[in-house]
Amino acid sequence: MPDRKPVESSDPAELRPEARPGARLEARPELRPDLPQAPRRARFDRALVFVALVAIWIGLATVLGTYWVGSPWGVALRLGSGVWGDLWQALAFVLGPTWSDSAVGGMTRPVNLGLQGQLQGQILVHASYTLFEAVAGFLLGAIPAATLPFLLRRLPIATAVIDPFMVGGYGAPKLALAPLFILWFGIGIASKIALVAITVFFIVYFSALAGVRALDARLVQMAQVAGASERSVARHIVFPGAVPYIFTGLRIAMPYSIGGAVIAELISANRGLGYLIQLGAMNFDTTGVFVALVATTCIVFLGNWSVDTLERWLLRWRPPADTKAEVGS
């Protein structure tokens, strides 16, 4: 029969709905833009939902006042001026006096535009700190997590031995680790990267493990008969077969990595979007908090898009609407 189902296993990753390969795809079909139902209709409906959400937001801001809920235009203005301030500075840095002393440069100087009061910190600078922490932690966690199941493939006993510890690590609330990491790694960037890395590690480990376990034994046998060495089998059969599963883990881990960085900054930092949230809250500056939240969301979208693009390129061999390999058992 041409449909080959992944081998059933008592893998903990399959017991947790959010870690089960495909669970996320079922829940969020919009993450698969190549699905047939995704096109124009969905885009239109999405715009409609966005408008509705903004309308609710405006309603809340009007009824409750901007002290409780920052108004959308206030947030947009602050975000825009913050970004412009950063860009202006960047241009001044790159082009020097040619820019800052030019007519256009002078006119658009944030102070001259009357934006100075609106400017909250430097949005792009803070966002790039958070982005850096998230990306560094993501790579630091995901790469060993994706590699480990391949190393353990021929060692079922070792896998079984570490399994309960991995399940424990997966289940432990990472937020509770933040104060500990700050104690160990200081309030700088290292503690944030560590928190992100450990969060990402367990998610990706279990998805890669599921991928290695879903290996089709018949493909391995075919390759061995054709003369493939153990290394060739790992490289040409096991790895490509596990890639869809690894990506399921990466997609789930990606927002966690940004969330993890922001939360670590919230607890203790003097830069980053989490710091901006904290700063805004301390000054009863609701709009400032909203600005940082919107910026965080934008980074999540950016991350999602990157993972999507990479996945679509790596998995171009898959039939467009085929979720078989992921939905599985």
């Binding site: 493909l219 390759a223 061995q224 008969v225 054709a226 003369g227 490509p240 890639v243 061999w317």
Partner: protein
């Protein structure tokens, strides 16, 4: 067919049963007391009812599955019995196996799939590449080299998996219903191609089929397996001389008698 003193492959009193699952009844013997031998250069066809253990038998000959009892000897070397770890799949590229399912790698294109054995054997060069392209053309897959398996039809996948084995030219080839899902025209075409190839290279072929006509048309000898547990229910030397005209084989005077006697044994 010059019968060598020592057969190339010898199967004696072979038995196979699969490990039972917990809570299920004890494992039954799928194959029991199966004996036959194959000479070098012979074209053996095997026919038997569905579920009689033909695939299981080929798996044991190719050493991707382990026998439970008895003996399988290839070039006088016995295969391990009962110990899956000691298996040597494909006997170091001496036995090629066209499996019942195509087992194409979904992440490789048709051409990449066909080249796969050459690549892992480190034999990929201009000459072997050209050979692969010739084979692709011969089975009518030209123009589909860059397609992924999910973009091919069932019959096309089957043909791709067939030439993936032919491309590295193993001296012995096992084929498990290779022409099953093909239309009559393509089927006859490929049967002719296979016979031509066999004539050229003097390969040894063990060919499993459900089709009595195909078994007679291709083989030097046909083995009929019984229902499980599989045994040899009958053996027929196909006397029809070569080269054979596959399209007109049914008109041969011996065909009818062979067909009837094989049919009587395939329940």
């Amino acid at each position: 067919m010059t019968a060598a003193a020592e057969p190339l492959l010898e199967v004696r009193d072979l038995g196979k049963r699969f490990a039972g699952r917990a809570g299920r009844d004890a494992p039954a013997w799928v194959i029991q007391g199966l004996s036959f031998s194959v000479n070098e250069g012979e074209f053996l066809t095997i026919i038997g009812p569905s579920g009689s253990g033909k695939t299981t038998l080929l798996n044991m000959i190719a050493q991707i599955d382990v026998a439970s009892s008895g003996m399988v000897r290839f070039q006088s070397q016995p295969a391990p019995i009962g110990d899956p770890k000691a298996l040597n799949p494909g006997l170091t590229c001496k036995i090629g196996y066209v499996t019942q399912e195509d087992n194409l790698l979904p992440w490789r294109t048709t051409l990449q799939n066909v080249l796969f054995p050459l690549k892992v054997q480190g034999r990929l060069n201009d000459e072997t590449r050209a050979h692969a392209e010739t084979l692709i053309k011969a089975v009518g897959l030209a123009g589909f080299e860059k397609h992924y398996p999910h973009e091919l039809s069932g019959g096309m996948r089957k043909r791709a998996s067939l030439i993936r084995t032919l491309v590295y030219d193993p001296p012995v080839i096992l084929m498990d219903e290779p022409f099953g899902p093909l239309d009559a025209q393509t089927r006859v075409q490929l049967q002719e191609d296979l016979l031509r190839l066999w004539n050229l290279g003097r390969k040894t072929i063990i060919f499993v089929t459900h089709d009595i006509g195909e078994a007679i048309a291709l083989g030097d000898r046909t083995l009929v397996l019984s229902r499980a547990p599989a045994r040899v229910a009958g053996e027929h030397v196909i006397t029809i001389p070569r080269p054979r005209d596959i399209r007109g084989i049914m008109g041969h005077p011996d065909f009818g008698t062979l067909y009837q006697s094989i049919r009587a044994q395939v329940q």
